[in-house]
């Protein structure tokens, strides 16, 4: 991935709320098709940064490009080219699997035939053909989560943002979920993921760790472990957070 192009470029990002500095001079790049782990304790400023990258909130200062679009002026183009999944799974519980797919395909402006094509593809992929007319509320959590991820990449976004996507899910399902992430990355989709599970951090190509609004570490999991002289990402995180 030496020659890979950067799909997210952040230079000196600052976001202030009054006198409170939520993001203090962040600079980093994310490469195309990379799985980028965005770690940090609660309140470290992750959500603020993600909101800015998704075009939901304007930064106070800094140069930021997402999918080669500017976050100040081209938020509409950014929104069309990214997918987003939050810890709440973002599906509508009272409508069926298929209707959820149709709805999200619809608001991203996919054609009818393309929507049907994608639905057939995902239902087969997830082995959910028999459940296509079930209400989301009747499905187990693990299934909802996989469907939510499929919905988020339904419109072939360049980047997908996953905000703690595996909260409250059992280890086996988490494992399966990460297989889906790998496949998306293999297909050229950049994955920008936040998590509190440090074993998941090991799966990422590169990891950044935020502390008090700053990025205190950014490298591959191997290099970070070497740098801090510990044997797991968990210990890297604890070391940084305690300082």
């Amino acid at each position: 991935m030496d020659q890979a192009e950067n799909i997210i470029t952040v230079k000196n990002l600052v976001k202030k709320f009054g006198s409170f500095v939520a993001n203090d001079n962040l600079s980093f790049q994310v490469e195309k098709a990379e799985i980028f782990g965005f770690l940090g304790a609660n309140g470290a400023g992750k959500t603020t940064a993600i909101k800015i990258l998704c075009g939901l909130s304007a930064p106070t200062s800094g140069e930021i490009e997402v999918a080669s679009y500017d976050v100040y002026t081209q938020t509409d183009l950014i929104k069309q080219n990214i997918g987003y999944m939050s810890q709440k799974f973002s599906l509508y519980e009272d409508i069926t699997v298929k209707e959820n797919f149709r709805f999200y395909g619809g608001i991203y402006g996919l054609s009818k035939s393309r929507i049907n094509e994608r639905i057939t593809f995902f239902l087969k992929e997830l082995k959910l053909e028999s459940a296509k007319d079930e209400l989301i509320s009747s499905l187990p959590l693990g299934w909802k989560q996989k469907i939510a991820f499929s919905v988020a990449i339904m419109h072939d976004p360049k980047i997908v943002f996953l905000d703690e996507p595996t909260g409250g899910v059992d280890p086996v399902t988490r494992r399966q979920f990460w297989e889906m992430i790998y496949e998306a990355s293999h297909n050229g989709i950049t994955v920008f993921v936040t998590t509190h599970y440090m074993d998941e951090a090991e799966y990422c190509n590169r990891v950044s760790i935020m502390v008090d609004g700053r990025i205190d570490a950014l490298d591959t999991p191997e290099n970070l472990k070497k740098q801090f002289g510990v044997n797991s990402m968990n210990n890297v995180f604890l070391k940084l957070a305690r300082n």
Partner: protein, 368 residues
């Protein structure tokens, strides 16, 4: 545009998937109108009245005939002196006495104005109100019919007096009140709940991250309720008209226009409520306490505004249904046109602008 319709389709799915929502949307208006309607209908058949005609001319006779042939009233007796009024009411059978002033026809001819006094037994306040309203409606009808062939507009002034409950003066009609209540409930409460639900479930985030514009999101949420409210408004009017013979004297186009205006107002209130509430429960409680109760208590729907302490009367001025009820009553019952209700209409428009701009401001702050 296709994106927008995909959104609206989803909203309809939400509504039709939830039996409770359907019940509220369609069951409640019908139940309400039936309850109010039948209470009213049972009371206003063959009500016994007495007539004290001090003039005994052809006009008073004509009006008497009109009133008696309406089917609502039965003549119990004709009176000859004021002293009998008390005696009649105390017997309890007669509910209303109609008094024509002396020289009724002459006065009408000379000054174009004549007075009728309607005295009702208001110990049963609502019934008294209804009886007086019906009588007034018949008199207005008569005035209208003679004015059609007359270049000079003639005026007959029915002066209502409630015996045993003097202050009970406000007009009570169930259709405008029910309409205001139902439209406010459906448009404001349901939209505020459905927008709050997106926030509570976290799906609002996803919608904001999607290429949909905030305005499209709001319009998409509101669209189904515009349609459903309109269906409800029409069915209330039709039920009132066909089942309970509530007249529509004025222009139906104007009536629908004002109804749409009120629906928009209710929706803008709903949107505003949703901007200040984070959960469905909060939205529901705010709706009930700030909309339902004031509509029942302070709009003049059930309790007459003139009866209230002055401070509460001022408060009534900011209750939106008050103005809508005035408009609807004027159009349906008195047959007035826009020239008589333009002030109330402007107030509704002003309120819409107020709530929309407040919501936009709130929405922007939240996005920052």
């Amino acid at each position: 545009m296709n994106r927008f319709w995909a959104f609206v389709k989803k909203e309809f799915l939400h509504i039709f998937r939830d039996p409770r929502t359907i019940l509220i949307l369609f069951g409640m208006p019908i139940a309400q109108i039936m309850i109010f309607g039948y209470v009213v209908k049972n009371d206003i058949k063959n009500v016994k009245i007495a007539i004290y005609d001090k003039s005994k001319d052809n006009v008073t006779r004509e009006i008497t005939d009109k009133i008696l042939s309406s089917g609502y009233f039965l003549l119990s007796e004709k009176l000859d002196s004021n002293n009998e009024l008390e005696r009649i009411f105390q017997k309890g059978e007669v509910k209303e006495i109609i008094v024509f002033e002396p020289d009724f026809a002459k006065r009408l001819e000379n000054t174009n104005t004549a007075n009728i006094q309607l005295i009702a037994d208001a110990s049963d306040a609502n019934t008294a109100n209804l009886i007086v309203n019906y009588t007034q409606a018949i008199i207005y009808e008569y005035v209208k019919s003679i004015n059609e062939n007359n270049s000079l507009a003639v005026q007959i002034v029915p002066e209502a007096r409630m015996m045993y409950n003097e202050e009970m003066k406000s007009v009570y009609m169930f259709v405008p009140g029910t309409m205001a209540l139902i439209l406010l409930l459906i448009s404001a409460m349901m939209t505020s709940i459905s927008i709050a639900r997106e926030k509570e479930m976290g799906t609002m985030e996803i919608l904001l991250v999607s290429p949909l514009q905030p305005l499209q999101i709001i319009m998409g949420k509101v669209m189904p309720y515009i349609i459903l409210s309109l269906v409800n408004a029409i069915s209330i009017i039709l039920l009132g008209f066909f089942v309970f013979d509530v007249p529509i004297h004025g222009s139906i186009i104007l009536l629908m226009f004002e109804t749409m205006l009120f629906i928009f107002l209710a929706l803008s209130i709903g949107i505003f409520i949703s901007t200040v509430s984070k959960s469905q429960q909060t939205a529901m409680f705010i709706s009930i306490f700030s909309l339902m109760l004031p509509t029942m208590l302070l709009s003049g729907f059930i309790f007459p505004i003139k009866n209230m302490p002055l401070v509460l009367q001022w408060f009534c001025y900011i209750v939106p249904p008050k103005w809508f009820i005035i408009i609807i009553k004027d159009i349906m019952l008195k047959g007035t046109g826009l020239i008589y209700v333009w002030k109330e209409t402007l107030i509704l428009i002003g309120m819409i602008i107020f709530f929309i701009s407040l919501s936009v401001k709130k929405f922007k702050i939240r996005l920052e």
